[in-house]
Structure formats: structure tokens, C-alpha cells
Subunit: 344 residues, 2 copies
DNA sequence: ATTAGCACTCTCTTCTTGAGAGTGCTAATT
DNA sequence: AATTAGCACTCTCAAGAAGAGAGTGCTAAT
């Protein structure tokens, strides 16, 4: 395939830039005037025709200006985009907010989603970090009433799971506490597989509790992501390309259906390391719902141990520079927080 | 104010019914044909004029059919609506789903939101139950690394709060466990005020931990609601009255801004008991954003002890019968679950 | 290789027009 | 006194027409 000339690259950049501002097709005359180019509109038209044939541009209809195609955007993002670091002031503001969130786990993720949404003026998604290898960390048994017990199970990585269940007999809090203490020692850092092998020789109550623990760990193992935090969904509605509700609906429905979202995120995991920022443009042929959208994703956390995903969803016509910088910055921030606070 | 005649009441019901189906203004001829009424369209026109003067109906423009006003809807809901019990099959399906959710607290609320959204084809909201009187139930201290500690605090009512903090010295898990055990005994069922009075004579570590506990309890006391679960936001987008994105945006933005939502829910608390179903029509003059919407809310849980809110948001033109029945049913279901599982 | 010039195309907005649905009023009917 | 038939009038909505504006593609000249 042919290469783009330097001039064509410049033009592509300008077209992308102009189109992100106006949301309208970009014409040759317009371009010359707007950027005081030293070439004529006719030349630009020639170049545009060439770039259209190569698949970087598209005409919505004959005799309209050009709009970047997915391929055009992808080339732009990969080769032409200079990624400005986020302004220091912005970075400080964000860091400060996290500082203020005290050390509450769930607040971090909520805040991360809020920051992404605000900063990129798009919908944002953050998943709490989740470990592929689920391991027992700490157990708590609390008697609520009669034979009912509230179990709080903390997994390695800080994930908390709770369940209420009934025992066959009425048990004192004291006995529950003793049992919990015993299990905490025995099961420390065990994975589910290791727990299965352990011969604990417990009484009935102990066995019931162990069954519940294993059950919860199994549930956790099946999960692809931790808890999901969304924000800024309404930002998407404000974009002109979603003035037609249909479009908006199809994009947002992806965020509402947990299994679709899981699928999307888990596929985006493949072959990507913590810290890489991925840009999915126009659904990349796989997600019909995202045909009009772009998704900027990054994993954060500790590679292969405890990772989560975060990203933003916006129209394909998106200020990629800012979006990517923001995602990268927040991802690094969360990675640091995870490393400092959730790892042994 | 004048009373509506029986015939006018019938007409109002029919107009509401027809309008919920078509979303269009209802004309007199239409009404006669559709329902084979034994009176002429002229008579209906006369009645309509009368009801318009009384404020129950409204003409979008001269020479269009009539649409119910907020007052019309309110009268309809209060006086004319017969509330069908939910079909047994539906009730069973829902109950069964809750049964399958195992005993995971958070799943209940997520599920409740999903059921409401699905059943009413509207946006739904569920808040986890929250106690006005925050009281200590159980504490857990887990050493993560060096001097860092993960605290898991369970409040009476099942609310779980977590925080990570650092101690001034490095402490063994053993010592943390002992401290936790001690505090669990000392602080059992104490409110924040009671904790303040307690003279515990603890060491440095103990005092640090107590400060964090109090801090968390204070945070919890300030909250109006527990965690918030939303679902079905995209259902709202599908309604014809929100074909214009502007409208949809203003309605949904209410759900995205936590403080607005808190405000809305806390006001709806006033003078309402668990089990009552409230119907807020058209924002009731207070919420500009909801001018086009209706909100069906109910509290659930144990009055004055542990309550949450749930409800649905839809267009003012809403199938109120079904919506109210669904909200009532789910509220009762959750109330039962709370009573059985979260109360002492 | 670039550009000026020009005919042509397509959208968008504004106007017009006619059909359709509905109203309000008056006079006749029950 | 309540109801109804009849009719003129109003307003929206959809479809078509016309003109402005922006943009293109092509040809011929530079």
C-alpha cells in the first residue's frame, strides 16, 4: 500500500482537527481559509481524492466535504498525534482530589470515573481491580440473630465479599469468632484449589462456613472484572452525533448490560499490558453498537496479579490527544495507589 | 372547587389510558370510536372544555386533542386508578430471582433495580438500606504490608465500610487481631455519641484505630442514603417524549449527580412511611428537570431503623397501575429480606 | 506539479399547499 | 336542560418547490 506524503499527513491532521471542532464535513476552501495554507483549494481537492482512494477519508455524499474514516483516525492516532502531557495544574487538581478521598477504596474508583468523565467530557468506566488468582486473605463471621450469620470475606487484593447464611444450630458470637480466627490462620493466602486440598477436620459449623467461603471464591474466580463504576453517561447525549436517540441508545446500552460490557473488557485484555493505552475506533468491526464511537482503554494495577480497567467512551470524533493523556494519567495514578495500598 | 361528575371521571380515565398508549393528544371523535361510547363526540367536547377549565386537561395547541395535565394525572392516580395486583406468574418469577441471588446483600439491590427497570420499562433506582442511628457492630483489622492496615467496619444494619490507613509503627497481625477483638467487645452496638463518652484507655495504635472508626461512622451518619443502584436508564431514551435528546439529558442528569439525587430522595422521605408508595408527577413544581417525568417511590425496610428507597422514573405518560404495583411489590419484598436478614 | 475557472451536485432552509384531525359554536332535537 | 348534528375554522404534519451555499471534479493554463 502506498505511503502518505508529508503534505497528506498534514492535511489529515488538519481535517481531523477541524472535524473534531465542528462535527461537520471539512471542505477544501474552508481548510485553506481557516489555516491560511500556502496551497490552493484545488490542490487540496486533488490530495483529498487521493486520500479518499486510499481509504483515509470519506464523503458523506457527493459534493460534501470529507470526513476521516476509521482508518484515517487510526492512522492519525498512531502516527500523527502528539500527546501533550496533561497541564501541571490539571494533574495537581486531580491528584489532590484523590488525596482528599481519604483511603476509601470505593471512593477511589468512583472518583476516577468522575475525573475521566469530567476531563474528557465523555462517558467513563472504571472497574475495581480484580485478581485472576483469587486467594483467601481474611474472614469475619458475625452473628446477626438466632442461627443467622453475616460473613465478610476479604480476598487478597482487597476485594470484599459478603454473604448472609443460616446454620443448622444456634451458635454464639464467641464460637464464631474462634472459628474465624482458626480459619484465618489455616487458610491464609490460600487459593481455591489449595483450599480444596486442605484437610481441615472441622465440625459441622466449620464445614458449612467453608462451603460458603469456597462458594464465594468460586464466584469471584468466574468474574472477569471487579465492581464497575460508570459516570458521565449524559455527556454522550450532548454530542451532536447522538442527537438521534437511536444512536445514543445503542451506544449506552452497551454500558448497561453487564455481560456485554464484560465481554468487551475481557477481549480488550488480550495481549495488553498494564499501562498501555488502547484506542478502539468505531467498534473495530466487532461491536456493531460502537460503530459511531471510540473507546480509549487502559489497564492499571500490577500486571498478572491485580488489575482493573478504565477508559472512556465518546464519539469517533473525539479529542484523542486529551483523552489519551487523561486515561494514561489516571491509569498510572490508580496503579500507584494499588501498588502502595493493596499489595503485600 | 367543583367536583367531577361520574361521566367526567370515566372520560378522564379513558383519556389517560388512550394517551399512555399513543403518546398523542386524544380527540373526541377518536374516543367515541375507540371505546364505542354511547354519547356523541359533541358531548365529549363539551365535557372536555369543562374539564379543561377545571384544570384536568390541556390542549397542546388550539384545535388539537386533549392531554391530561399534572393535576389530571394526580386525580387519576388518587381516585380512579384501580391497582391490579401483579399477576401471580410475575410475582413468582421475581421472587424466584431473589431466591437465586443467594444471600449476597449487594446482589439484592442490583437485582431489585433490574427487576424494576425491566418490569416497568423505565429507569429505576434502589438505595441500599441505611440507618439513621449509626452503630458499631463489628471491626476487622487486616495488616496489608509494613505499617499499613485495612480496616473493615461493619455497622448495625449490615453496612460495610472499609478504609486503608497507616500506623506510626509496624504491628503484627496478631496484635491487630487482639485489638480488634477487644474493641469488638467494648464497642458492641455503640453509637458514635456513646463511643465518644467511652473511656477506653488504649495505647497509641488503639487510639489511631478508634479515630479512624469514629471518622467512618461520622461519614456514615452524614449520608442520607446507602449505596445507590441504577438501572434501565436507556429505557427512558426509548420513549417518544425523549426523542429530543435535550429532554432526556435533563431527566437523566438528575440520576447522575449524586447530590441532586440525595436531595430528591431525602425530601421524599418527609412524612412518608415504609410501604407507602408515593407518586411524584411532573416534578411537582419543585424539580424543573422532572417537568416531563413521573417518579414512583417507596421506602422499604424497618421504619425509623433501617430504611432504603426504591422507585422508578418514567415519562409522565406512564402505565401507573403496573408501575405502582411493581414498586409496591418489590418494596415489600426487600422489606421482608431486610427484616429477616439484617435485623437483630 | 499546481492552480484558476466553471459547470454541476447535493444539502439545508424556507415557503407553499393540501390533507387530516380536531375544535367551538349554533341551532335543532330529545 | 341535556344532548347532538352540522359546519366553519384552526392548527399540524407531510410533501413538494425553489433558491442559497458549500463543495466537488474536471479541463486547460501556468
Amino acid at each position: 500500500m502506498e505511503e502518505l506524503t508529508e503534505r497528506q499527513k498534514l492535511l489529515l491532521s488538519l481535517i481531523v482537527h477541524e472535524h473534531t471542532l465542528t462535527a461537520k464535513p471539512v471542505g477544501s476552501t474552508m481548510l485553506v481559509r481557516q489555516y491560511s495554507l500556502p496551497i490552493s483549494s484545488a490542490t487540496i481537492r486533488n490530495e483529498m481524492t487521493a486520500m479518499e482512494e486510499m481509504g483515509y477519508l470519506r464523503q458523506p455524499h457527493t459534493s460534501a466535504g470529507r470526513v476521516p474514516t476509521e482508518k484515517g483516525y487510526r492512522f492519525f492516532v498512531s502516527n500523527l498525534l502528539q500527546q501533550p502531557a496533561l497541564p501541571t495544574a490539571t494533574r495537581n487538581t486531580i491528584t489532590h482530589q484523590f488525596y482528599q478521598a481519604r483511603q476509601q477504596l470505593d471512593e477511589w474508583f468512583r472518583l476516577a470515573a468522575a475525573v475521566l468523565a469530567k476531563q474528557a467530557q465523555a462517558a467513563s468506566i472504571v472497574t475495581a481491580p480484580h485478581s485472576k488468582k483469587v486467594a483467601f486473605k481474611h474472614l469475619e463471621l458475625i452473628s446477626t440473630r438466632a442461627s443467622q450469620v453475616l460473613m465478610v470475606l476479604v480476598l487478597v487484593g482487597g476485594e470484599i465479599r459478603q454473604q448472609i447464611f443460616s446454620l443448622d444450630e444456634i451458635v454464639t458470637q464467641q464460637r464464631l469468632s474462634n472459628l474465624a480466627a482458626e480459619l484465618n490462620t489455616l487458610c491464609q493466602n490460600c487459593t481455591l484449589a489449595q483450599l480444596e486440598k486442605l484437610d481441615l477436620s472441622l465440625d459441622d459449623v466449620g464445614n458449612t462456613v467453608m462451603a460458603v467461603i469456597k462458594d464465594q471464591m468460586q464466584l469471584s474466580e468466574r468474574l472477569v472484572t471487579g465492581e464497575i463504576y460508570l459516570d458521565g453517561l449524559t455527556n454522550v447525549l450532548a454530542e451532536p452525533e447522538f442527537a438521534d436517540t437511536e444512536q445514543a441508545l445503542s451506544a449506552l446500552s452497551l454500558f448497561e448490560e453487564r455481560n456485554k460490557l464484560d465481554d468487551l473488557l475481557s477481549r480488550s485484555f488480550l495481549g495488553n499490558e498494564v499501562g498501555d493505552v488502547q484506542v478502539l475506533i468505531g467498534g473495530e468491526g466487532t461491536w456493531e453498537e460502537l460503530r459511531q464511537c471510540s473507546l480509549i482503554l487502559s489497564h492499571y494495577g500490577i500486571q498478572d496479579q491485580l488489575t482493573g480497567t478504565l477508559g472512556i467512551l465518546g464519539p469517533m470524533r473525539m479529542p484523542y490527544g486529551n483523552a489519551i493523556s487523561t486515561v494514561r494519567f489516571v491509569a498510572n495514578l490508580l496503579s500507584d495507589l494499588v501498588a502502595e495500598n493493596l499489595m503485600e
